[in-house]
C-alpha cells in the first residue's frame, strides 16, 4: 500500500513539473488550423477532381495519389529539413512560430488528400436526379456544384470527414519532428527524466487523446445521422 502511495506521489510531482495540458493544447491548436486549411484545400481538390476539365481532374488526381501514398513523417521532415533549413523559406520571423506554421502546412497538405476523397465519397451519395434537375433548370457546373451537389455532398461526407479529423488529431503528434512542443515530445522528455513512473505517464497522455478523440467520433457520428439527407 505504501509503495502505491509513493508511486502516486512521485507521479503527481512529475505532473507538476511538466505542463501536460499545455502540450495537449498545442495538439488541439495544430488540429484546428490544419483541419481548417485541409478542408479548404481538400474541397478545392474535390471540385477539381469532379470538374469537366481534364487538366484540373488530372492535377487533382495526381495530388491525391502523391500525398495519400507518402508517409506523413516524410512530409514533415521535408518541411523542416528542406523548406526551413535548406531553402530558408520562413513563414514567420519568429523562430518557434515558424516551425509551428510549417507543421500546419505539412499536416494540411497530407490530410487535404483524405478530405478530398471524403468529399468525393459524399458526392457519390448524391443521386443522379439531383444533378439532372440542376441541369434542367439551367445551372452550369459551378452553380450546380455550389447550390445543389456540394451542400448534399457535405452532409453525406460528414462521417468520412469525421474519420479524417480523428486521424488528423492523432497525427498532430508527428509534429514532434518539427520540434513543436506537443504531446509526443513532452511524453518522451517526461519518461526520460522520470522513468520511475513511465506507465502512469503513458496512461496520462493516452487518456488525454482518448478524451479528445472519442467526443469527436461521437459528435461526427451524431452529426452524420442528423444531417443525413432522407431519401
Amino acid at each position: 500500500m505504501d509503495s502505491l502511495t509513493e508511486y502516486f506521489q512521485s507521479y503527481l510531482t512529475a505532473l507538476e513539473t511538466y505542463n501536460v495540458v499545455g502540450a495537449l493544447w498545442v495538439n488541439i491548436q495544430l488540429t484546428f488550423w490544419s483541419a481548417l486549411c485541409s478542408l479548404v484545400l481538400g474541397t478545392v481538390l474535390a471540385l477539381m477532381r469532379i470538374s469537366p476539365v481534364p487538366s484540373f481532374r488530372w492535377a487533382g488526381t495526381a495530388y491525391v495519389n502523391i500525398f495519400r501514398n507518402t508517409p506523413l513523417t516524410i512530409i514533415m521532415v521535408f518541411c523542416i529539413l528542406v523548406a526551413i533549413f535548406q531553402l530558408q523559406l520562413n513563414l514567420s520571423s519568429d523562430f518557434n512560430f515558424n516551425f509551428f506554421l510549417w507543421a500546419i502546412v505539412g499536416l494540411s497538405v497530407y490530410h487535404a488528400a483524405f478530405v478530398c476523397e471524403s468529399i468525393r465519397s459524399g458526392v457519390n451519395t448524391v443521386p443522379l436526379g439531383q444533378a439532372e434537375a440542376a441541369r434542367a433548370i439551367g445551372l452550369s457546373f459551378l452553380p450546380a456544384a455550389r447550390l445543389v451537389i456540394l451542400p448534399q455532398a457535405f452532409r453525406g461526407a460528414v462521417a468520412p470527414l469525421g474519420n479524417t479529423l480523428i486521424a488528423l488529431t492523432k497525427n498532430t503528434t508527428v509534429a514532434t519532428v518539427a520540434s513543436v512542443p506537443e504531446a509526443a515530445g513532452l511524453m518522451k522528455t517526461m519518461i526520460e527524466f522520470r522513468p520511475d513512473v513511465i506507465m502512469a505517464i503513458f496512461a496520462t497522455f493516452a487518456l488525454g487523446f482518448v478524451i479528445i478523440v472519442i467526443p469527436i467520433g461521437l459528435v461526427t457520428t451524431w452529426l452524420s445521422n442528423k444531417l443525413a439527407v432522407a431519401r
Binding site: I50, F141, I191, I198, A206, T221
Partner: protein, 287 residues
C-alpha cells in the same frame, strides 16, 4: 470516375465543349506555370544540379543506403502485418463472442488502441523496452515499431472483421442455425470465411497504412528507409534523398492500392458480403 462525371454534368454541347477546352488550356498553362515556378526556385538555389541527383543512380547508394533501408521497412511492415492480422482476428472474433464480458473487454481494448496515436505508443514501447532490457538493445526500436503498429492496426482490423461479419446478409447465419449449427460453428464455418474474403480489399488498404506508418520508426531511431535517406542526405542532398524516399513509398503503396482495387472486383462473386463496403460511420479512422 464514370459515375461522378454523370452526376455533375451531362454530355456537353458544342458551346460547352469550347468552354471546357478553353478552361483546359488555361489549366494546363496554370499547372505548368506553377511547376516551372517551383523548378526555377529550386534551380536558383542550386537544388537541380546533376551531382546532387546522380548519386541515387549509383550502385553504391542503392547497396549501402536505399536497399538496407527498404529491407528494414519491409521487415517491420511484414512483421507488423502478420501480428496485426492475428491481433485483429482474435479481437474481432472476441467482439462477436456470445459472452458479454468478453465482448466488452475486447471492445474497450480495440477502441482504446484506435484512439491513441501510433507515435505515442511507439515512443512509449521504445523507452519501456529499453528500460526493461528484455530484448537486445539494438533490436529495441524494431520491436517498438512492430508492437505499436500491431496494437493500432490490429484494432482497426478487428473492426474490419466485425463489420465484415455484420455486413453479411442475415440469411447466412439463419441458414447455419437451420442446419443445426451452434452460433460459434456458424461463425467459424459460414460467416467468417465470407467476411474475410469481403474484407480483403480493405485489409490491403490497411497494409498501406502499416507501410506508411513504419516511417514513424525513424523518430525512434529505427533505421528504415526514411532514416537511412535522412542520414545520407544530411551530408547535403537532403531534398533529393527525401524525394527519392517519397517516390519509393509512393510506388510501393500505389502497387498495393492497385492490387486492393483489382481484388475487390474479383472477389465480389465469392462472398455474400460487400467487398467494397459503403463508408460506414466508424468511430476512428483508418487513414
Amino acid at each position: 470516375m464514370k459515375i461522378q462525371q454523370s452526376v455533375l454534368f451531362d454530355a456537353p454541347g458544342p458551346k460547352a465543349q469550347r468552354r471546357i477546352l478553353a478552361t483546359n488550356v488555361l489549366g494546363i498553362i496554370l499547372f505548368l506555370g506553377a511547376a516551372a515556378f517551383v523548378l526555377k526556385g529550386l534551380n536558383d538555389q542550386g537544388q537541380l544540379e546533376s551531382e546532387l541527383w546522380t548519386p541515387f543512380l549509383t550502385a553504391d547508394v542503392w547497396q549501402f543506403t536505399i536497399l538496407p533501408g527498404l529491407m528494414n521497412t519491409f521487415k517491420a511492415a511484414a512483421a507488423a502485418i502478420v501480428t496485426s492480422v492475428l491481433f485483429g482476428l482474435l479481437f474481432g472474433v472476441g467482439r462477436l463472442a456470445a459472452n458479454r464480458a468478453v465482448r466488452w473487454i475486447c471492445g474497450i481494448i480495440v477502441e482504446f488502441f484506435r484512439a491513441v496515436p501510433v507515435l505515442l505508443m511507439m515512443i512509449f514501447f521504445w523507452l519501456l523496452l529499453g528500460r526493461l532490457q528484455i530484448v537486445e538493445p539494438a533490436d529495441t526500436p524494431f520491436f517498438a515499431v512492430v508492437l505499436a503498429l500491431t496494437l493500432y492496426n490490429g484494432s482497426v482490423i478487428a473492426e474490419l472483421v466485425r463489420s465484415g461479419v455484420y455486413g453479411l446478409p442475415k440469411g447466412q447465419r439463419e441458414a447455419g442455425m437451420a442446419i443445426g449449427m451452434t452460433r460459434g460453428q456458424s461463425l467459424r464455418s459460414i460467416e467468417l470465411p465470407q467476411a474475410l474474403v469481403a474484407m480483403l480489399p480493405s485489409l490491403i488498404s490497411q497494409f498501406v497504412v502499416i507501410l506508411k506508418d513504419s516511417a514513424l520508426g525513424s523518430i525512434i531511431t529505427y533505421s528504415e528507409l526514411l532514416r537511412a535517406m535522412q542520414i545520407y542526405g544530411s551530408a547535403g542532398p537532403i531534398l533529393q534523398a527525401l524525394t527519392v524516399a517519397a517516390v519509393l513509398f509512393i510506388i510501393i503503396n500505389f502497387a498495393l492500392s492497385w492490387v486492393a482495387q483489382k481484388l475487390s472486383g474479383l472477389l465480389s462473386s465469392r462472398t455474400s458480403g460487400k467487398t467494397r463496403p459503403a463508408s460506414a460511420p466508424t468511430l476512428v479512422a483508418k487513414v
